[in-house]
């Protein structure tokens, strides 16, 4: 690695994060479960298949329109397990708190986590708390890990996409990214956009009724839809084509993107999933997904065109075509 220090871009979920994983973590922790680079690991134990996943949560601000860091810490890991095709069961919760953090805020976060666990039907069964000197952490960091069970015949790895698969997205993208941005200091624009933060295990449960035709499940969080599709295309070595007109986008998110010069394809989501499915089940599945509260706006957004090195193309709304690359660094508002 050429850079001497860790840069913020190493944590953005884009190409530098991938470099770090592929050049440092993977070669050192090498094993077949990790090397799949899915949202969680699938562990075979006698009689059952387990999914195991972990994530650390840092968000600024801690409380944002549509959620807070506590809800995020529960739903984030629940969703990572769900994307492995698992029924999430147990979570761990580890807190790193900065000295001087208001107890009332901590209580609010914990109450949110309690509520989230009850909605997602998981239990926090082990935990840890550390308090560090003022200035050694930014308010509060939360790590959760989780375990779930995977039913027989379910395999939703990002490396499973097949030529001909249709791609379904469960609703409009970019709400979480814009909600966080609007709540951050410095960008003075008012909006009613709420984060899409939601537990997706219920919706996944519905989808998995068709498990033999469900090839891939992923949640496009950091790095957005564009980065997730690139990851899938690369792991499965296929070419993906999506259609701009078919990607659901709320008017307000679109307006905010126009204003700031952002591409919604790269904005973070916390309640979205993409699934690659056999074409013959797509219409029925779409109907089923639309019955779930987190799938009402589900749409087929594209397809797997052919075997390739792993490229994603977009048909633009005026009839052009272009490559969709992974996120590089953070998206920044334009100067001019």
């Amino acid at each position: 690695m050429k850079e001497e220090k860790i840069l913020l871009s190493h944590g953005s979920g884009g190409r530098l994060s991938h470099d770090l994983i592929k050049k440092l973590f993977l070669p050192n922790f090498v094993n077949d479960k990790l090397s799949k680079l899915d949202d969680g690991a699938i562990l075979k134990t006698p009689g059952t298949k387990l999914a195991y996943s972990t994530d650390s949560y840092t968000v600024d601000p801690l409380f944002f329109p549509g959620g807070n860091i506590g809800l995020l810490a529960v739903y984030g890991t629940v969703n990572d397990l769900a994307m492995c095709g698992a029924k999430p069961l147990y979570l761990s919760c580890s807190l790193i708190i900065e000295e001087g953090f208001p107890l009332s805020d901590l209580e609010e976060i914990v109450l949110s986590m309690k509520k989230a666990c009850s909605i997602a039907r998981v239990d926090i069964v082990t935990g840890d708390t550390k308090v560090v000197n003022r200035g050694n952490a930014d308010k509060i960091f939360i790590n959760t890990s989780g375990i779930g069970v995977v039913k027989r015949g379910v395999n939703t790895s990002g490396s499973n996409a097949q030529v001909g698969d249709l791609i379904i997205l469960n609703g409009p993208i970019g709400n979480h990214g814009i909600a966080i941005l609007s709540a951050r200091e410095g960008l003075n624009f008012e909006t009613t956009i709420q984060s899409d933060l939601a537990p997706l295990n219920g919706l996944v449960n519905e989808i998995l009724k068709y498990s033999s035709d469900i090839h891939v499940l992923r949640d496009p969080t950091r790095g957005g839809l564009a980065t997730t599709l690139n990851e899938i295309a690369q792991s499965s070595r296929v070419e993906v084509e999506i259609e701009e007109e078919k990607i659901p986008l709320e008017e307000e998110v679109r307006a905010a993107c126009e204003l700031l010069g952002y591409d919604p394809l790269y904005l973070a989501n916390e309640g979205k999933l993409v699934t690659f499915v056999s074409p013959h089940v797509a219409p029925i599945l779409l109907e089923e997904m639309r019955k779930n509260e987190y799938g009402i706006n589900s749409k087929i957004i594209g397809k797997v065109v052919k075997k390739s090195e792993g490229l994603v193309y977009l048909r633009t709304s005026i009839g052009g075509k272009r490559v969709v690359d992974m996120l590089t660094g953070e998206q920044l508002p334009r100067i001019c």
């Binding site: 410095g186 977009l314 005026i318 490559v323 998206q331």
Partner: protein
């Protein structure tokens, strides 16, 4: 969305394309001066639907890309001293200087803060009276009025710890310089929409008349750009060279007079270095004597600026002038990538190399 959807209509785009095909059969070089146009052309896949003989050339209109190495080194030198807080637009963080970048200095512990507006930098100055706040004042005519307003506000509120390192640049002199150099044949200009909301259409008149090159001030949606291309082709066909405002929903011939007067109040026009292009007469803006106390260059005795090292094989200059496309640079995608940019054109989201890398 009103004012957007109608400019992304497939039917309209198709109609204009048909018109273009009817009047255009000779090879032409049309330059889109502005980086936002470059990105829009790529994002909408316009090159793929236009006839092959219409060659769209990306110009120097990305403020980050044309900022010289020496200026980055100056800002870095400020950031290395504890008494300063450096504030900047986000794009500037990753632009390589001679040996470092603001992003790398930040990782080493320098107090560098990304702001969305110079007014945010002024707020930081008010909240940190024991520090001197340097704002990296990069931008074209679109951004400069806000910097001028911020200096006027700092003056009115008697703020003593706010300084601007001005690197403001003017677009029309750069366009003239490209035509003067004769390194590339430009048949028509797609003039920048944002810049023109401030300066209006008059500054392009002399380009059209002296050099006989038609100019169309274009909006940023695909239909805007296609229509502007059509308006250029039509002028070429009729051997005309005029300035037409296609982006009339935002641009008035006289521009924004209030913004222009604020610019004039605070800045004077000076000769200025453009990264990769060189010195262009009367193409830059410096803070005038009345507001000299806000000029960060007055503090340069406090800092040590390293010797300027230009990266030898970098062909950003030729890219910025439209002489080569990024694809013709031997470093492109091989050594120079968005993760490890050697030239500024790869850093800014509106830079030509970044757009080619991302969308091509």
């Amino acid at each position: 969305m009103k004012y957007i959807d109608e400019y992304r209509s497939k039917t309209l785009a198709k109609n204009i394309l048909n018109q273009i095909n009817l009047i255009s059969y000779q090879p032409v070089n049309l330059m889109e001066v502005c980086g936002t146009h470059t990105v829009s052309i790529f994002r909408n896949g316009l090159r793929k639907i236009l006839p092959l003989h219409i060659n769209l050339i990306s110009g120097p209109g990305c403020p980050v890309c044309v900022t010289p190495v020496r200026y980055i080194d100056e800002i870095i030198a400020f950031s290395r001293k504890k008494e300063f807080i450096v504030t900047t637009f986000g794009d500037m963080l990753r632009v390589p200087g001679s040996t470092s970048s603001l992003e790398k200095e930040k990782a080493k512990g320098a107090d560098i803060r990304m702001v969305y507006s110079p007014l945010d930098a002024l707020k930081i100055a008010q909240n940190n009276p024991e520090k001197k706040i340097i704002f990296a004042g990069v931008g074209f005519e679109t951004t400069i009025p806000t910097i001028a307003s911020t200096i006027l506000k700092a003056d009115k509120e008697k703020i003593k710890n706010f300084f601007v390192l001005s690197m403001g640049k003017l677009i029309p002199p750069a366009m003239k310089s490209l035509l003067e150099s004769k390194e590339i044949k430009i048949n028509g200009f797609l003039c920048p929409g944002h810049v023109s909301t401030i300066i209006g259409s008059k500054p392009y008149q002399s380009i059209a008349s002296q050099y006989h090159v038609p100019c169309v001030i274009s909006g940023f949606e695909p239909v805007d750009i296609l229509q502007s291309i059509y308006l250029l082709l039509q002028q070429l066909k009729n051997n005309q060279a005029e300035v037409i405002i296609q982006y009339s929903r935002a641009v008035k011939p006289e521009g924004n007079e209030i913004a222009l007067s604020k610019m004039k109040e605070v800045f004077i026009t000076v000769d200025s270095d453009w990264r990769g292009i060189g010195n262009i007469p009367q193409s830059g803006l410096e803070i005038n004597d009345n507001f000299f106390r806000f000029n960060a260059r007055a503090l340069e005795s406090d800092i040590e600026i390293e010797e300027t090292l230009e990266f030898k094989n970098c062909r950003c200059g030729e890219v910025l002038k439209g002489i080569i496309t990024p694809l013709q640079c031997p470093l492109f995608k091989k050594i120079c990538t968005p993760e490890n940019p050697l030239g500024a054109c790869m850093v800014s989201s509106e830079g030509s190399c970044s757009a080619y890398y991302k969308y091509n």
